[in-house]
Amino acid sequence: MTAARTEASAPRGTARRRRIPVAYWLLLPGAFWLFLFFVIPFYSLLATSLYDPSGGAVSGYRMTWSFANYWHTLSDYVGPLGRSLAYGSIATAMCLLLGYPLAYAIAFKAGRWRNLMLVMVIAPFFTSFLIRTLAWKLILADQGFIVQTMQSLHLLDPGGRLLATPFAVVAGLTYNFIPFMVLPLYAALEKIDGRLLEAAQDLYASPLRAFLKVTLPLSLPGVVAGTLLTFIPAVGDYINAQLLGNTETRMLGNVIQSLFITVGDYPAAASLSMTLMLLIVALVYFYVHRSGTEELL
């Protein structure tokens, strides 16, 4: 009896022992990739941010643990940093305001048009990010249809413009990132069981109340995922500010880009990058905790 039991449990034991290495083998390519293109560059960026700022791209840098880099760059570029956060936040809010009704319509009202509408949400991705943003340059151009119409309707002063304004930058960001808002919202809304809404109605909730008490709370994971997917890239973006803005709308991304590529001040650029990254991580952590959707992290 005992012998039989040990025999029976033996193969199970080996199976379990074998299963764990398989999982690790499967992780290996991804882990290798992340190590090569995330961990090493991250370490390199961190190290660069602490180099002696008096060095140069040509003469080379020395590691001096110069934490002062952070303080200096932050005080020099607090304006672009503030703009990054402001534009990113406004664009995220706009994406949510425009994206929620759209996702709701696709999930609940689109019927047989649902797939077509989803394809249309994704369709802009078939064109490059850069070309789409350049197209906005034409749309908002001084001689363009929109500016002319607004001027003739006296919504805009005769000399007023849309291009090269904060409005253009936020509009560009909103446009470029709205699919990242709509898709998670749609996924969350689509999962909601219609019978819950019937139950809410049966329990004296008007359609508006049913939305506020059932649909909205149940779609919250989608809202959180969507805002994160929109806010994080929008804050770090520099293409929109560069193509649609002016020198007064420079975001932190523009500063980092010019410090790295034009000026060649690597420690400053690296410390700004680290600052922005830490700031975003802190904001996201706070936001996710406040909205009670920790399971997303």
């Binding site: 019978r195 819950l196 809410a200 109605q201 049966d202 329990l203 004296y204 909730a205 008490k213």
Partner: protein, 382 residues
């Protein structure tokens, strides 16, 4: 919000009434010219196979579907066209439809809060006490078992003290043992709170255990309505005869129609049936008799006078169940009749191929019109 709901009718009949209600989905008629009256405070069951229109009927009462035509009256007020959230009706859904993001207490409080009722906390506590879930109040629905979720769904509807409580196969997802237990609990709660319950089910045993009145539905119409005993003992259609329990339906012809009985010729045997139990009085008919009403004996045994006797049967199958023995008896005309004999010890067990005599009292059979399908309601059952 309170003022939005339908006021209690004054002078009008205090009940739920459906008048000539029809519901069509495209070409399909789900409910066909249905009339129904449910007395206040009663436990009413709508029984029928899936697709018979019972759930559609329930959803129309709840306001989740609009009837194509007809009137739905609650306390004498026509509620057709009234939005579901303004009807004095609550539903226990088949899937329970508990709000996954709310705690049990919040789920139960949902209806009260929407109506802005005061002292929600105390009422929720009382209701959770009634369904024995007070210590689960702060859990989320997915932390409860199926039976507990079912009770939350019931509590969530009951707490609003609706004029009519609708139950849409609420026990369907539970296993047999739990279902039996919940049937008794539901019935107990209903008599405790005294609300009108309308219960939709395809389980005839469930309907018979719980309901005061059963309406048997088939293909969008009510086949028969009455107390469980009435439906079982005196079915008016072959569908009811087969859907509620088993019935032996035998081809027969009415030959005599005088006195307290109708006389039938059943493949050469003379059989009498109480007149009140014959829904047709002449011509070709179906003679129905429940298996447990049929007695089985040796061909030689003498039986009381005025008893219907048919000789010449042969036992073709026996299954001993313990409390009873179930026989299939092949009759001289080829049909197999089903006989359930209680294990009282009065008769010996008849083996296969034994020649037997079947007999039953005239008050234990019923007569149905021959224009109906003798197999109606059978395939849905098993």
């Amino acid at each position: 919000m309170e003022s939005d709901s339908i006021p209690a009718g004054r002078g009008a009949a205090n009940d739920l009434r459906l008048e000539a209600v029809t519901k069509r989905f495209g070409d399909f008629t789900a409910v066909d010219d249905l009339d129904l009256a449910v007395t206040r405070g009663s436990f009413f069951a709508l029984l029928g196979p899936s697709g018979c229109g019972k759930t559609t009927t329930l959803r129309m009462i709840a306001g989740l579907e609009q009837p194509t035509s007809g009137r739905i009256l609650i306390n004498g007020v026509d509620v057709a066209g009234v939005k579901p959230y303004r009807r004095p009706v609550n539903t226990v859904f088949q899937s329970y439809a508990l709000f996954p993001h709310l705690t049990i207490a919040e789920n139960v409080a949902f209806g009260l809060r929407r109506r802005g009722v005061r002292d929600v906390r105390r009422q929720v506590d009382e209701m959770l006490e009634l369904v024995e879930l007070r210590n689960q109040a702060e859990k989320k629905p997915n932390q409860l078992s199926g039976g507990q979720q079912q009770r939350v769904a019931l509590a969530r509807a009951l707490i609003n003290k609706p004029e009519v409580l609708l139950l849409d196969e609420p026990l369907g997802a539970l296993d047999l043992r739990l279902r039996r237990q919940m049937q008794l609990e539901l019935k107990e709660i209903q008599s405790e709170v005294g609300l009108t319950f309308v219960h939709v089910t395809h389980d005839q045993e469930e309907a018979m255990t719980m309901a005061d009145t059963i309406a048997v539905m088939n293909r969008g119409v009510i086949e028969q309505m009455g107390s469980p005993e009435e439906l079982y003992e005196n079915p008016r259609t072959t569908f009811v005869a087969n859907f509620l329990g088993h019935s032996n339906l035998i081809d027969a012809e009415i030959v005599g129609n005088t006195g307290p009985h109708v006389e039938l010729n059943v493949h050469g045997n003379r059989i009498s049936v109480d007149r009140a139990r014959a829904s047709v009085q002449q011509g070709r008919v179906w003679l129905g008799v429940r298996p447990e009403k049929v007695c089985i004996s040796d061909a030689s045994e003498s039986v009381a006078a005025e008893t219907n006797v048919i000789d010449g049967g042969t036992v073709s199958d026996v299954s001993f169940v313990g409390v009873s023995t179930q026989y299939l008896v092949r009759m001289p005309w080829g049909q197999e009749l089903s006989v359930f004999e209680q294990n009282t010890g009065e008769h010996r067990l008849f083996a296969r191929q034994t020649a037997v005599r079947l007999y039953w009292k005239p008050s234990h059979a019923f007569v149905l019109g021959h224009d109906q399908d003798a197999r109606a309601g059978q395939e849905e059952l098993r």
